[in-house]
């Protein structure tokens, strides 16, 4: 079963988060949607239905990265600033990514989408 995950991180930690995701086989530039907090700070986020439970575990507890010979401590500070919202879409009659996960997550962290 796939989980639907919203990942959010401040812009200064986004490069490291994206680098870690790529190391875990998720491809480049996962956090790509530009956001802004109440204080004008820039964040980046993503919504994905492509992550299963193991993927989620690997991203939060990246022993797999250590297996690749990468120093996990390089990412620990960035990971401390990564926030997420995980939803099991099967619990919804008709899961809507925007209304059931993305917008509630943005509201919880007082973020809005901004255009470049």
């Amino acid at each position: 079963m796939n989980l639907c995950i919203v990942n959010l991180a401040p812009a200064e930690y986004t490069p490291q988060i994206n680098e870690l995701a790529e190391l875990l086989g998720k491809g480049p530039n996962n956090l790509s949607v530009k956001l802004q907090d109440w204080n004008g700070g820039i964040w980046y986020g993503c919504h994905s239905a492509a992550w299963d439970a193991q993927d989620f575990y690997d991203f939060q507890y990246p022993e797999k990265v250590a297996e690749l010979g990468v120093d996990i401590s390089e990412y620990s500070e960035a990971l401390q600033h990564l926030v997420w919202s995980v939803v099991d879409p099967t619990l919804f009659e008709d899961y809507n990514a925007v209304h059931d996960n993305w917008l509630p997550a943005l509201q919880a962290y007082e973020l809005i989408e901004v255009q470049d």
């Binding site: 796939n2 639907c4 990942n7 995701a21 086989g25 998720k26 491809g27 480049p28 530039n29 996962n30 956090l31 790509s32 949607v33 986020g45 993503c46 919504h47 994905s48 239905a49 492509a50 992550w51 993927d55 990514a97 925007v98 993305w102």
Partner: protein
């Protein structure tokens, strides 16, 4: 129908062997969609009812299932036909075309690095960065793993890691030029490869290399999250005077005519059937396509 002396009565109708039905309701099907492109038209047709053309991974090794994310979707407008063989001497009968030739031993290629130094073979390739290729090869034996890449030294979608012996059948897209086909390893390894074949899968296929941007394939079609999902297609140049046909289960078929399509095109809207062709369709063609796509999508 015409009753002839050799006709057979079937269910109240007459069937004459070897006759041609004129004016009957010959079923419109996939082959008829593909005939629309028979004049060399550019474009694509994606059919979400056909799980055999979609994959959960970018290498085409994880079959698509319902309610999972889609990384790669093959264009059906060319019926997944294969192009010419791109590999020279893929069976390693001689040492021709490969470098270094010293790695070709007894009809196969051995990649051997006892100390972790780089070892590999390669040949210059005419592959196109816009195309998707079906890559097949046999790993006779393997210790330590290796990779096959369509651009030496690159990472990402054009490189596939090899970890097991046996026949491998994958899909690869070159990411940049100059292009080499290489089989190599930069850590301790020992493996033998044979029977390499690389052929283009004709058509314009869409893909998404970033996991969080992959849409979900469901019984209703390909569903985009409206946050960051998109499927990308690269044409060799922009298209003009296109007919765009998009069908959803809930809304049926919508046709747009005279459209321009950018060279780098991104799909972000839900679809069950999606076709772009760079010409106007006749009223008859549009009527048949609309009815066929609506039927496929379950739109009534």
């Amino acid at each position: 129908m015409i009753k002839t002396p050799s006709s057979t009565v079937i269910g109240g109708a007459f069937w004459t062997p070897n006759c041609t039905s004129v004016g009957g309701d010959k079923a419109f099907g996939d082959a008829d969609i593909q005939k629309l492109f028979a004049g060399g038209e550019r474009g694509f047709w994606f059919d979400a009812s056909d799980l055999s053309v979609a994959y959960q991974d970018i290498f085409g090794t994880v079959a698509q299932t319902q309610n999972t994310a889609t990384a790669l979707f093959l264009d059906k407008s060319k019926a997944k036909a294969l192009g010419f063989e791109q590999i020279k001497n893929g069976t390693f009968d001689t040492s021709d075309s490969w470098e270094p030739s010293s790695s070709i031993i007894n009809g196969s290629a051995r990649i051997y690095s006892p100390n972790g130094a780089f070892d590999g073979i390669r040949q210059v390739s005419p592959l196109n960065t816009l195309k998707t290729y079906k890559v097949e090869f046999d790993i006779v034996q393997i210790t330590g793993g290796g990779y096959i890449a369509l651009h030496a030294g690159s990472a990402g979608v054009s490189r596939y890691d090899i970890t097991s012996a046996g026949h491998h059948n994958i899909l690869l897209q070159p990411v940049s030029t100059p292009l080499y086909i290489s089989i190599a390893r930069a850590t301790v390894c020992d493996f033998t490869v044979d029977n390499i074949s690389i052929r283009e899968i004709l058509g314009y296929h869409c893909k998404q290399i970033t996991a969080s941007k992959r849409p979900t394939l469901t019984v209703d079609g390909v569903i985009f999250d409206k946050v960051d999902d998109q499927l990308d297609i690269a044409f060799d140049s922009a298209l003009s005077n296109c007919t765009i046909v998009r069908t959803t289960k809930s809304g049926g078929t919508v046709v747009q005519t005279g459209q321009s399509v950018a060279q780098n095109y991104a799909i972000t809207q839900d679809f069950h059937q999606l076709m772009i062709i760079n010409r106007a369709l006749t009223a008859s063609e549009l009527s048949k396509v609309t009815a066929y796509f609506n039927k496929k999508a379950g739109y009534v």
